[in-house]
């Protein structure tokens, strides 16, 4: 079981939430080149270690938040409302 701490609802089993993947920086759609936009859409760092990711609290407060998770151990830290 992976425990994820919602900043509003507290610790929950990850199956109560929806993982939304690593947080990437969105280029300005007005000026981004096609390749910058596609990189943003599809390319992922997918590291083995700490990563900042977005979650959706599906069966609790129904809000998005970010958390840091170590993908090698599934420890989590620094949960923040977004």
């Amino acid at each position: 079981m992976i425990v994820v701490n919602c900043p509003h609802c507290g610790p929950r089993n990850s199956s109560d939430l929806r993982p939304c993947g690593e947080v990437t920086s969105r280029p300005d759609p007005a000026t981004a080149s096609l390749s910058e936009w596609r990189t943003y859409l599809y390319m992922r760092e997918n590291p083995s270690g700490w990563v900042t990711e977005a979650w959706y609290c599906r069966s609790g407060c129904r809000r998005y938040f970010t958390i840091e998770r170590n993908t090698a151990t599934n420890e989590t830290r620094r949960s923040e409302a977004s």
């Binding site: 079981m1 596609r38 997918n46």
Partner: protein, 429 residues
């Protein structure tokens, strides 16, 4: 057939049985050279098959396959060995069907019984929309000469009598996509067969050799990596090895290796779990998949039922089993086959899968000269191993993406030309 060294035969079996003499080792443990023509990272089916076809079809034998663990220790030793070609896109169908053809002649080609059993493959439909997708797949398949058709519940019952086809279940079976040439294969034998044959042709398999970095020059990124660069070799826990060509065949670990060359991938790594029951008398003749119930099952020649599901939703490199998986699996399997409720699960395990947004692989040349990828195999890469090896070997030998893999190159993500296979690959591996 001098492709595999020591020939296996019924005569040899009797001789070794009577004399109790040792069988020769299937492959050597060579000392690493300081340079090779091609370095393949990852000693699973894909890396080994690529090495074999480079040697057998293109006469390139100064090749090393590097694995941080042992051969076949990744997904290649953990999968549920389902082989089929009834995909959704014409590109996918052509590609996987070539693999099926290679599986068909593999036992002879590699002189090792891979126990390929073409027992038929059923993908159940429990909803109208699933049935519609089955019809779509069947038509795409038929156009390309693949034996694939939609059958009704009575015909389903004939193929797999243990299935509950009554209309009053929670997920009634409305029909199925039936693919007679699909089946299962002995996955370890496939890995060992390619390793043995490649070894005999002179390929070096270097186990316990972990790639720590890919050495590049001339690229626009740090240390000469990235777009416009060129590969010069790899750094390993046993020292540097120079090579003008490096191939990434590391499946679940693909992003970690590719980032070392400055080539980001559209991949996230997710665990996929599977489980097996105690053996019982053979009663299930076909492979049965249910997309809506996220479950599939086949029975091995030893009588064990092998179950699988879709990937765990949270991306991670940690492979451990979860109770959620076992509970959901048991519930869904019993929905399909209530008769097996007394059977006990023996083992449960998990492996890493490199998932892409369109459920198709990422293959061929990249923006770094000499750096090739054969990744993004998700939950369906075992069946693709032979054709991936064959086409990657051609790509490396000629420097040009082989025709069958042209739709799968990394460029499709910048061109927005994805090959959507989700409808045929999300659960039925």
């Amino acid at each position: 057939m001098a492709r595999h060294g020591y020939t296996y035969s019924a005569g040899k079996l009797i001789k070794h049985g009577l004399t109790r003499g040792d069988w020769p080792r299937m492959w050597r443990r060579p000392e690493a050279r300081s340079s090779y023509d091609v370095v393949i990272v990852g000693g699973g089916l894909h890396g080994l098959a690529t090495a074999y076809y480079l040697a057998a079809d293109h006469g390139m034998t100064n090749i090393a396959v590097l694995d941080k663990g042992y051969l076949g220790g990744g997904g290649s030793g953990r999968n549920t060995a389902i082989v089929r070609s009834n995909y959704l896109t014409p590109e996918g169908v052509a590609f996987y069907d070539r693999s099926l053809a290679l599986y068909n002649s593999m036992t002879q080609e590699l002189n090792l019984n891979v126990m390929f059993s073409r027992r038929g493959h059923l993908t159940l439909a429990h909803t109208d929309s699933a049935l519609r997708t089955m019809h779509w797949r069947a038509e795409v398949n038929k156009l390309q000469g693949i034996d694939s058709s939609v059958i009704d519940p009575q015909e389903v019952k004939k193929e797999a009598p243990s299935l509950d086809i009554s209309a009053d279940t929670r997920y009634p079976i409305l029909g199925a996509l039936f693919h007679p040439p699909g089946g299962i294969v002995r996955h370890d034998a496939v890995v060992w067969g390619y390793a043995r044959a490649a070894d005999h042709l002179g390929v070096h398999m270097l186990q316990e050799t972990e790639v720590l970095d890919i050495l590049c020059e001339g690229g626009e990124g740090p240390d000469g990596k990235g777009t416009g660069g060129r590969v010069t070799g790899v750094r390993t826990n046993r020292g540097d090895i120079s090579a003008p060509a490096v191939v990434n065949c590391t499946a679940g670990w693909a992003s970690l290796i590719s980032n070392m060359a400055g080539v980001p991938l559209p991949i996230t790594t997710h665990p996929l779990q599977a489980a097996v029951t105690e053996p019982c008398k053979v009663f299930l003749p076909t492979v049965v998949v249910s997309g809506s119930l996220h479950v599939y099952v086949s029975q091995t020649d030893r009588g064990e039922l092998v179950f699988g599901a879709s990937v765990d939703p949270v991306g991670t490199y940690r492979v451990n089993g979860t109770l959620e998986f076992t509970e959901e699996l048991a519930g869904h399997v019993l929905e399909l086959m209530p008769g097996i409720s007394k059977m006990r699960l023996m083992r449960q395990w998990s492996g890493l899968c490199d998932m892409t947004p369109d459920y198709s692989p990422v293959m061929g040349t990249t923006q770094v000269d000499g750096y090739f990828v054969d990744v993004g195999w998700g939950t369906y890469g075992f069946k693709a191993g032979p054709v991936a090896g064959e086409t990657m070997a051609e790509t490396i030998a000629t420097g040009r993406d082989a025709d069958l893999i042209a739709p799968f190159t990394i460029n499709r993500f910048t061109e927005g030309d994805l090959v959507g296979e989700k409808g045929a690959a999300a659960v039925g591996h």
